[in-house]
């Protein structure tokens, strides 16, 4: 009996348990189905396109990511600054820089230099603005403007380190920035007048700066009061200009009154009246009689005056010059250095590789910036009452124009040209919203041109479609879409790739919609400040 009860008890227990479990299942509150978490990164079949050994940064105000090829070296946070460290005269980018908040540091920040493997090279107890000049690491102060109004922020933290020997170059006590040229070091120093009270702004800051040129051992070679020294690499269109030249700005009466001189650290030549860099190794200089000389800075031994104009020179390609035409009917003026022809221009577009010029006589030309070869030379039929236009070189194979009639710039005529002539007049298809919001070239690859078309989307958001050269949408509904910043090859993406955000991911995408690399927008998100978009 006892055994029978026990067996019955166990039987009952099992049945009871089974019943209880099965009924209990239905009594539990309905739980939401659990979704898979949003992965931080998505795998990419196309990531091999990144495997070129280059350092790149996927920028994000909430934390940037550094990659070498397709390998992630660093995943940043919002308090960090991240930058590529490179010599503008070289094509390779060997280092990257990270600075972050750290209250244990006297400055509240720490920073470090890393190489292409992600290995730490050097560390510092503050942030710097960093450049590379040959084997010299130049660490400029980031707070240079602050010490003009605050005794607590002092200059003197500019450093130059020889990376091959790790030897630090002697620097003046009050230096805050330096430019290096041919083993000579041009420091800019600042000495705040003692007569100023704490917090009192030095309104004559540039009267208290001084340039000191010295050698590796710290021996001063030249000193100039009310003078700053900077590198030409800070400007646009600097390709082809030797690193022998440094820019000296002299301040006669405050920061608004200055004269600029290019100084050659090898030949000792000095060129006064520097106006701007014009590309292809040339620069424009204003003469005392108000003329503008275009000078070839890359010529051997002595610079060469190529031509003289009565307006400021903007862009140069061999045989072609574009000047400002400010204050006149058309903004630009084109000069053919071969024929001497001059004509007014609607618009120009210039980068390191091409110079596109759309003139008011209807001619559209695209020049190779280095050789001066004419890549495209066609005529553009104007629209009725045309009063302005825009032009872009789209890679080396295409040029895009937007033609605006007087009184209505809301719907320009958009045309794509190649060397043979008109490829297509792009029109808005019926599936897109009325009117265009934004349209511009995006990228080229494999002989195709791609454009980004921005329009008002739901929730006040601008969305972008990517259109090909036939006006067909190859991608739709992107939250972000733009060409990556380059310039001298810095941070360039593989051919055809562009910056994009789609859904909850942002990164580098190709026109077929494949990610080369992407990250979730939540991988580094903030709910603190009202800056709006995560990215």
């Amino acid at each position: 009996m006892k055994t029978t009860l026990f067996r019955f008890g166990r039987t009952a227990a099992c049945l009871t348990l089974a019943v209880a479990l099965l009924t209990g299942c239905s009594l539990l509150p309905a739980a939401s189905p659990r979704k898979d978490p949003i992965p931080v990164e998505q795998p990419s079949d196309a990531s091999a396109a990144l495997d070129d050994g280059k350092l790149r940064i996927l920028y994000d105000s909430n934390g940037s990511t550094v990659l070498c090829g397709s390998k992630v070296l660093h995943e940043g946070r919002g308090d960090e600054t991240v930058a590529l460290v490179y010599d503008p005269a070289e094509s390779d980018i060997p280092y990257y820089w990270v600075a972050w908040s750290d209250n244990s540091s006297p400055s509240g920040r720490r920073s470090a230099l890393y190489d292409k493997t992600g290995a730490e090279v050097l560390t510092f107890e503050q942030d710097h603005s960093v450049t590379l000049s040959g084997n010299y690491l130049v660490l400029n102060q980031t707070d240079a403007l602050e010490f003009s109004c605050d005794h607590a922020v002092q200059p003197g933290d500019c450093r130059v380190i020889d990376l091959t020997t790790r030897q630090e170059i002697p620097s003046p006590d009050t230096a805050y920035q330096c430019v290096v040229s041919n083993d000579l070091f041009a420091f800019t120093c600042y000495e705040r007048p003692e007569t100023l009270a704490d917090g009192e702004y030095d309104e004559d800051m540039y009267q208290h700066v001084r340039m000191v040129l010295q050698d590796r051992e710290g021996n001063p070679l030249r000193e100039e009061d009310r003078c700053t020294a900077t590198s030409l690499s800070n400007q646009n269109n600097t390709s082809g200009i030797p690193s022998d030249w440094i820019l000296l700005d002299f301040y006669m009466d405050g920061y608004l009154s200055q004269s600029s001189t290019l100084s050659n650290t090898v030949t000792g030549e000095e060129l006064d009246g520097f106006d701007r860099v014009c590309g292809n190794g040339t620069a424009s200089f204003r003469t005392e009689d108000g003329q503008y000389q275009l000078i070839d800075l890359a010529s051997t031994e002595q610079s060469e005056v190529l031509a003289t104009f009565d307006r400021s020179v903007l862009y140069h390609a061999p045989g072609a010059v574009v000047c400002w035409n400010a204050g006149n009917d058309y903004r630009y003026q084109f000069h053919d250095l071969t024929t001497g022809e001059m004509k007014p221009v609607y618009n120009v577009d210039a980068d390191d590789k091409t110079l596109a010029v759309y003139a008011t006589d209807g001619t559209l030309r695209v020049y190779d910036r280095t050789t001066g070869a004419i890549l495209t030379d066609v005529n553009v039929d104007s629209v009725e009452n045309q009063d302005s236009a825009r032009v872009w070189a789209v890679g080396e194979d295409y040029a895009l124009v937007m033609l605006y009639p007087a009184g209505d710039h809301s719907k320009p005529t958009i045309r794509l040209y190649d060397a043979q002539g008109l490829v297509r007049q792009l029109t808005i298809s019926a599936s897109t919203p009325d009117g265009y919001y934004y349209f511009a070239p995006l990228t080229t690859t494999d002989g195709h041109a791609y454009f980004r078309y921005g329009y008002a989307g739901p929730n006040g958001k601008t969305l972008y479609d990517v259109l090909d050269e036939n006006g067909n949408a190859v991608l739709k509904g992107l939250a972000l879409c733009y060409s990556y910043y380059g310039g001298n090859g810095l941070n360039d993406l593989p051919a055809g790739a562009f910056m994009a955000r789609k859904g909850f991911y942002y990164g580098w995408m190709t026109p077929d919609g494949q990610w080369l690399y992407c990250r979730s927008i939540f991988a580094s998100s903030t709910d603190e400040h009202g800056y709006g978009d995560l990215i």
Binding site: C14, R34, G63, F504, S525, D527
Partner: protein
């Protein structure tokens, strides 16, 4: 006979085992609370889960252009996108591209203080509870709102996975954040000092932390480096803090579980209950709180924001919330 008795016992035991297995597989469709995705996870963002909630027909009630200007909390971004997709018929990924938020505090401000402005002002928010300071601003200067709880989330505590402590009581957590318990060994862990991360005072998760756990009690001031400005920053900090297992922080469950986590983290049980969709749904997890939909009271019945607001209380609305992975609440 002996064989018969054995067979019957085996049958009953087997019935119990099968029943248990059936129960566990049916009711625990979730994997154990994970420590977050790894970069090597070979899966993409899934489409809407084919579950019971999707049996509710998704009928658009608005066109895409009509969808109201919507703001909210960071942790509500995926839900806002799903609401946009379900109410308009938009593609979900495009809806995800259209969502941007300005944080919990600013979402409430944008609706209450500025929502009556002309132009693209905020008309609808999906957000966690507003910080007290923002409530005061709204009471003083803002327009009246209609608000209702539409979902439930939870305040969860995160530790490095190397920390042997699995569960803490609410009182232990209060004592840690009051600075009264300063070493893990006092709560069953290793002999290591406790590094307790917080958030900034006006953050949504700090508001929840104060309301649900601290409740006006003692709270130590956190050094700046222990109060990251970002939700993601807190998660990173705990995962990486000095590579030791002595850090603790908090966030909201949905964010950690769905949106951003990192390898090396684990959620603590509180009072012995591990946070999960189930324990949040039945509120057995002790630190739960609702999140809300809100519109201005003067939003008329035919306005897009009122339509969405009302829709959220329908079966379709609740199905949308659940489909997004959140815990929906009944009206």
């Amino acid at each position: 006979m002996k064989q018969t008795a054995l067979s019957r016992r085996a049958f009953l035991l087997g019935l119990g085992a099968v029943s248990s297995a059936a129960l566990l597989s049916a009711c625990n469709t979730n994997a154990p609370v994970n420590s977050g995705p790894t970069p090597s996870q070979p899966e993409r963002e899934p489409a809407a889960s084919p579950d019971a909630s999707s049996e509710v027909t998704r009928e658009p009630i608005l066109t895409a252009d009509e969808f109201p200007m919507t703001d909210g909390s960071t942790a509500c971004i995926p839900l806002i996108a799903q609401i946009m997709a379900d109410t308009t018929g938009m593609d979900l990924e495009t809806a995800q591209s259209c969502v941007s938020t300005n944080t919990t505090a600013w979402a409430w401000r944008n609706l209450s203080l500025y929502g009556g402005n002309e132009g693209d002002s905020t008309k609808l928010i999906i957000a966690y509870e507003a910080p007290e300071s923002v409530k005061e601003e709204m009471a003083a200067e803002g327009g009246p709102l209609d608000q209702k709880a539409i979902g439930r989330d939870a305040l969860v505590f995160i530790v490095n996975e190397e920390n042997p402590v699995q569960s803490l009581s609410q009182q232990q957590l209060r004592d840690i954040y009051a600075g009264k318990i300063t070493n893990w060994k006092d709560v069953g862990g290793a002999d290591l000092p406790i590094v307790a991360f917080q958030r900034r005072e006006d953050s949504g998760s700090q508001t929840l932390f104060q309301k649900l756990l601290i409740q006006g009690g003692e709270l130590m001031d956190a050094p700046t480096e222990l109060a990251p400005t970002e939700m993601g920053g807190l998660v990173d900090s705990i995962a990486e803090y000095n590579n030791t297992a002595n850090a603790i922080g908090f966030s909201v469950y949905y964010y950690i579980d769905q949106m951003y986590s990192k390898p090396g983290l684990r959620l603590l049980a509180v009072d012995g209950v591990t946070p999960s969709n189930e324990t949040i749904a039945d509120q057995s997890y002790p630190l739960c709180n609702e999140f809300y939909a809100a519109v201005r009271q003067d939003s008329g019945a035919d306005t897009p924001e009122r339509k969405v607001y009302d829709w959220l209380s329908t079966d379709a609305g609740r199905a949308c919330i659940e489909k997004s992975g959140y815990v929906a609440v009944q009206d």
